[in-house]
Symmetry: C2
Subunit: 352 residues, 2 copies
């Protein structure tokens, strides 16, 4: 890299002033060139009042002449505002962010942040190291706000977050406590819808493969399943414990097939697991939906391409991101937004 900011070996007034890989211009330089004080210059930049029209113009001119851009760090130090928020994803599996779910969330978050001056920092707190950093961040105000997703079980971050010195909004509710500010999808309602669909289509021996039960979403989807079966007066004991991942789904499906060879419907708490299950079903020679109807959850992009295309529950993931960001903004503005639960809906394709 040429263009590093310093060339220490040059003498004070070395004649060779050609091509200046100059330091960024500072506010002082702007002020001087415009013939005003630094304070005045600062005021026009933050367009605060108390600057005469003439000086305001002069400063503006100086700014583009010099190509001045305020130094964000200095400003942050002076204002005690970092100018950035972080999206933190906590969890134990390093690769878990690879789930397209998060990518969608990011798109949503970004869409609202793009309207502001805030930067987005990503914190994948997967290792202990990452966790520690995130904790520190919550305590020490290295960001102006935090969006926290995917807390597992009794993640200590949960409580830490709620008493953090910086606004925090949760994406999804952790199991162990109800955060003050969160946005979640209606997981329970969606699962219920899915299961009802199975019931309505005449299935009577209905199983489920759950998500991770140490997560709010996993638990809620199981409850929705149970809700529906209770209403229908059907047996709800056919439960296999999964964790959202594909291979786990296949294994759970195998077990289910062993436990209840005559089952005719299954609600699976994630599309990834459903994909795994579909494959097992195919290998076992069961036709879908002929022998067994299956419905998934999430409506990921791949769901319409499985064989057969997967009936599943759609949740508005980008909206989730958007709303988290909006809520955080509100919080940072001193408001007290209410928690938000986003609707889910059944997408009927061919697997059920």
């Amino acid at each position: 890299m040429t263009g590093l900011p310093f060339r220490p070996e040059m003498k004070e007034n070395d004649a060779v002033a050609i091509e200046t890989p100059r330091r960024q211009p500072t506010l002082d330089e702007v002020a001087e060139r415009a013939g005003v004080s630094r304070s005045a210059a600062s005021r026009v930049i933050n367009n605060a009042p108390h600057v005469s029209r003439a000086k305001r113009e002069a400063v503006r001119r100086a700014i583009d002449d010099l190509g001045y851009v305020p130094n964000a760090t200095a400003r942050a130090l002076a204002t005690q505002q970092v100018g950035a928020v972080v999206l933190a994803i906590s969890g134990d599996d390093p690769g878990m962010f690879a789930d397209p779910f998060f990518a969608e969330v990011v798109v949503g978050v970004n869409s609202v942040l793009e309207e502001t001056e805030l930067e987005l920092m990503l914190s994948l707190a997967t290792s202990t190291r990452g966790q520690a950093r995130l904790e520190q961040l919550l305590r020490t105000r290295q960001a102006d706000g935090v969006m926290l997703m995917s807390l597992h079980g009794d993640d200590p971050l949960a409580t830490l977050a709620d008493q953090a010195s910086v606004p925090v909004v949760f994406g999804g509710r952790p199991l162990t406590f109800e955060p003050r500010y969160y946005v979640d999808a209606d997981n329970r309602g969606g699962a219920r819808l899915a299961t009802e669909h199975l019931v309505k289509s005449g299935r009577r021996k209905i199983a489920t493969i759950t998500g991770g039960l140490d997560e709010g979403a996993g638990m809620a989807r199981l409850q929705g399943f149970q809700d529906a079966l209770a209403v229908a007066g059907l047996d709800n004991s056919l439960v296999e414990h999964g964790d959202f991942r594909e291979d786990v789904g296949s294994r759970a499906m195998s077990r289910l097939l062993e436990r209840a060879p005559d089952l005719d419907g299954v609600f699976i708490a994630s599309d990834q697991m459903a994909m795994g299950a579909l494959r097992v079903l195919g290998q076992a020679g069961r036709s879908v939906p002929g022998d067994i109807a299956v419905v998934g959850f999430n409506d990921i992009a791949g769901a319409r391409h499985t064989a057969p295309p997967l009936t599943t529950v759609n949740q508005p993931i980008q909206a989730l991101g958007r709303e988290m960001a909006r809520m955080l903004l509100a919080l940072m503005a001193g408001e007290q937004p209410s928690p938000l639960i986003l609707p889910t809906r059944l997408v009927v394709r061919e697997s059920a």
Copy 2:
């Protein structure tokens, strides 16, 4: 939010000093408590030499007593180093980051950044506003380094980036110029492999659906396709222009079917498009791979669940992210790393 840093309505020495939602302790406070100068305290924190054993201990003790954490902003201002790098994804489509590809890249990047003290900022420069911000960032050193991906056509960022005042590494090569530092996948080689596979399995009327030809990857994959056909002495005129997205893939496939009803193999530059194509093929009553063999590119997670499972070219996406990050780190350390091209390999499943 309780716990905001200031409670302005409290008088100077209000008796109610209970539960202090105190400001973060500063270095001065640490120094005072340890009975040393601020400089000394600073030295032990950055574990620089020239501090006696005793004082070092004292400072350490003061630090945990107070729960002191250095203020990153202040440090950044003093050192002229931000302590953060940005992963920038440029493009026109707001939703394009939803492509799981990027999620994987992020995982890779994160895995190496996690070993450092650097934060990761994400910049989805999709709108003009986002672009402008990114440009500014390149000029004004708001980050210590930049990873730049997915430049389209003649994106002005490309040249801007190379003369930026901050280290930049490219992910993939833009079409219009060869960056100094980049890591890319062997797109051309992969495409060639894919096409050769088609040839070897006896296909003779082979088409391709290209990616966006304003991107390096799109172009390279087309070239790889042509390479293989040239060697085999086959006609290479069956080219439909796509852009990586699914629906575009379906449409291109339809056109292909019209143009050449007797085609028996197709190489498609992305799995997403391949999925769209597969559906069209199904609707048209063509069997895969019986009538037509298809091979995709990317090996996304969904590829093994299509009907039939998709033969495709795998590229090491996480590794791409990892290597970008590593290269950036090297650059920031003043080294001059060489560009890197990561291998791709064919994953044979059932569609070809």
